[in-house]
C-alpha cells in the first residue's frame, strides 16, 4: 500500500515490470543491516535509502577522519570528528523521510550481532577487516540470514552473495578459511574511491534484486573486479563439506 507521495517518489521503480508496486512494497517491508559505513557502506546506504528499503540499521564505531573523505561520499568536510553512523543516519533521513533508520555506534560483540540478525532480512558486509568479516559470516550462517559481501583495495574489488537461508549454501569461510592475518585492507594498501564505490553500489543492487525477487548474478559466486581493465572474472563457489563454520549445519 503505497501513498501518493510514495507513488511519485518511486515512479521510476514502478515503471519497471521487475519491480512494480508489488516489489516496491517488498522493499518497504525489508530490514537490512549494513555493517561498515566506509567506502562500501556509503553508496550502499545511500542507494538503499533512496530505493525505499523500509528499515535500515547502520553499524560502525568510527568517527569521520579527513582521510575518509577521498572515497566515503556520505561525509563532508564539516563532519570530521562526528560519528559515521550518526552522520549517515541524518543524511539518509534527509534523503528519504519515509524510511526508518537506526544506528548502532559501537563494535558489536557476537551476542549483540546475533540479536540484530533476528530482526534482519539481509546483511551487507561493508567492513574493513578480516576478523569482523569472519565473525559476520559465522553469525549469518548460524542465523540463516543472507549475506552480501563486498571488499576492495587498490584497484581491485570482490563481491559475493551467500544465501544462508539455504542449507546447501557455501559461506565466506569456505572461500577464505584461514585468512585472519596479513589480509590486505585500505589503510595498508590504498584504494581509489570509485573502485570501492562500484562494489558498494553493486551490493545495493543485489539487495534490491533480492527483495523484489530477481535472481542474483552472484549467488554462490565470487566476482573479481579489475579497476585497471574494467574486466570481471566470475568463479563458482561450492560448499566445503569440511568447513568449520557451515560444514556441520
Amino acid at each position: 500500500m503505497l501513498s501518493d507521495n510514495e507513488l511519485l517518489r518511486y515512479s521510476r521503480h514502478l515503471l519497471l515490470e521487475e519491480v512494480s508496486e508489488a516489489g516496491q512494497n517488498k522493499l518497504k517491508q525489508a530490514n537490512v543491516l549494513i555493517i561498515g559505513m566506509g567506502g562500501l557502506g556509503a553508496p550502499a546506504a545511500l542507494y538503499l535509502a533512496a530505493a525505499g528499503i523500509g528499515h535500515l540499521v547502520l553499524n560502525d564505531f568510527d568517527d569521520i577522519e579527513v582521510s575518509n573523505l577521498q572515497r566515503q561520499i556520505t561525509y563532508q568536510n564539516s563532519d570530521i570528528g562526528e560519528s559515521k553512523v550518526e552522520v549517515t543516519k541524518q543524511r539518509l533521513q534527509q534523503l528519504n523521510p519515509d524510511i526508518k533508520v537506526r544506528s548502532i555506534n559501537k563494535q558489536m560483540p557476537e551476542q549483540q550481532l546475533s540479536m540484530e540478525l533476528t530482526m534482519a532480512d539481509l546483511v551487507l558486509d561493508c567492513t574493513d577487516n578480516m576478523a569482523t568479516r569472519q565473525m559476520i559470516n559465522k553469525a549469518c550462517v548460524d542465523a540463516k540470514v543472507p549475506l552480501i559481501v563486498g571488499a576492495a583495495i587498490r584497484l581491485e574489488g570482490q563481491l559475493m552473495f551467500f544465501d544462508h537461508s539455504q542449507p546447501e549454501s557455501p559461506c565466506y569461510h569456505c572461500l577464505f578459511p584461514n585468512s585472519e592475518e596479513q589480509t590486505l585492507n585500505c589503510s595498508n594498501s590504498g584504494i581509489i574511491g570509485p573502485v570501492v564505490g562500484t562494489i558498494g553500489t553493486l551490493q545495493a543492487l543485489e539487495a534490491i534484486k533480492y527483495f523484489v525477487g530477481l535472481p542474483s548474478g552472484i549467488k554462490n559466486k565470487l566476482k573479481l573486479f579489475d579497476g585497471k581493465t574494467l574486466d570481471w572474472q566470475t568463479f563458482a563457489i561450492n560448499k566445503d563439506t569440511q568447513c568449520s563454520v557451515c560444514g556441520q549445519v
Partner: protein
C-alpha cells in the same frame, strides 16, 4: 605439463597438486584462494586436486578493505 596460471602460460616440471603448485610458485598459503577452470577449490581439497594438462588456474588473495 602445460597449464595457465592467472592467464600466463606455465610448464610444470612434474605432476603436482594445488598445494604443491602454490609452494612451487612461492605463493603464500594463508589468505589465498585457488580456482581451477573458474571453480573455486576449497582449501581442504588442495592436496587432493591433481593438476591436469591445460588446467586454467586462478590464484587470488582475500581482501578485506571497505
Amino acid at each position: 605439463m602445460k597449464i595457465q596460471v592467472n592467464e600466463q602460460a606455465l610448464t610444470l616440471p612434474n605432476s603436482m597438486n594445488l598445494e604443491q603448485l602454490l609452494k612451487h610458485l612461492e605463493k603464500p598459503l594463508m589468505g589465498s584462494a585457488v580456482a581451477v577452470n573458474m571453480q573455486v577449490i576449497s582449501r581442504s581439497e588442495w592436496t587432493q586436486y591433481n593438476i591436469n594438462e591445460g588446467d586454467n588456474i586462478s590464484l587470488f588473495q582475500a581482501i578485506a578493505g571497505g
